[in-house]
Symmetry: C2
DNA sequence: ATCTATGCAAAGCTTTTGCAATCGT
DNA sequence: ACGATTGCAAAAGCTTTGCATAGAT
């Protein structure tokens, strides 16, 4: 079928990947904007749109991973390998979860309900230590910008306080 | 801790839930806008903001489920029980997956990496029959409005066509 | 030469919010 | 009464797109 475009190597693409690699070393999963801010240090004239485009291209190539599961903003992982993440519902932070494996895996099925299976997206949700430390209750401090999951609980969230 | 507000019963809330129930019977997982359009048939003057607010309230109560995993727009499930979904990366459609269970489950862990675990969000991604039928290649027809997962593959997507 | 990539600005889409009025308990 | 809820309109946030130019192969 469609073989797609022939990707080219550009300074911008290299710079984006390089930033992703640096984040990867710290096991941090940045948002597009965080990547943008960092790339700017090398290429001050790069545009945000270019960062968006390059992150998508790199993800399409399987060189990096787009963590699209949570609510926006999307985050990326420089490590394309199959591993489980956990996301903080308060601040949006994402961490790797070592030693946790989910079954069935994306390879255990090729069709379901008429769907041709591509993969499984799984991540745990919780509250990170940093957020837990800051008054369990109100404040939503250390990263207020990224509202992780609207207001109402996402998915199989809390429940409990029926009334 | 905070016991939260005392929810009240309103015509709008009832109507939203009733629409969700109807979708549930068909095992369809609507977007906020689809709920809005439907509720309008009963309450023509209801506002979109009210629908957003009510869907969140109902999800916070655990009466319905907010499927926040995929990319926007968010979809809802009138069935609050814990079950696995599969989402079409082409059109965004979501279906229930009977008989599939994911382990570990959200109850298998209470802490990870300093996180206090709330739950696990897991869903398969694939291409639905409808989309597969329409030229495997280009068209993105039957529900073009909802761009499911940006352009680049989400998560552990395709891979393969490295170059 | 051809087709991909870039920058910029504008637009798009989903979702949230401020506020005054209204409704539920 | 008290506080939750509603409508409306505006704003916000993230992401995509059109277009002319520059760049890669």
């Amino acid at each position: 079928m469609g073989s797609g475009p022939t990707y080219r190597r550009t300074r911008q693409r290299d710079a984006v990947l390089s930033v992703l690699d640096r984040f990867r070393a710290r096991r941090v999963h940045p948002t597009t904007d965080e990547v943008y801010v960092n790339v700017r240090r090398t290429l001050p004239r790069i545009s945000l749109a270019t960062v968006y485009r390059n992150l998508d291209v790199l993800a399409a190539q399987g060189i990096i991973q787009k963590l699209g599961m949570g609510c926006s903003p999307v985050r990326f992982d420089g490590d394309p390998s199959d591993h489980v993440h956990i996301r903080c519902v308060r601040c949006g932070r994402v961490d790797d979860l070592d030693g946790v494996h989910v079954t069935p895996s994306k390879d255990d099925a090729t069709t379901f309900n008429g769907y041709e299976v591509i993969g499984l997206r799984a991540e745990f949700v919780g509250v990170c230590d940093t957020c837990r430390m800051q008054h369990a209750g109100k404040s939503r401090t250390h990263n207020d910008a990224h509202r992780p999951c609207s207001s109402g609980g996402c998915h199989a969230a809390d429940q409990g306080n029926k009334n």
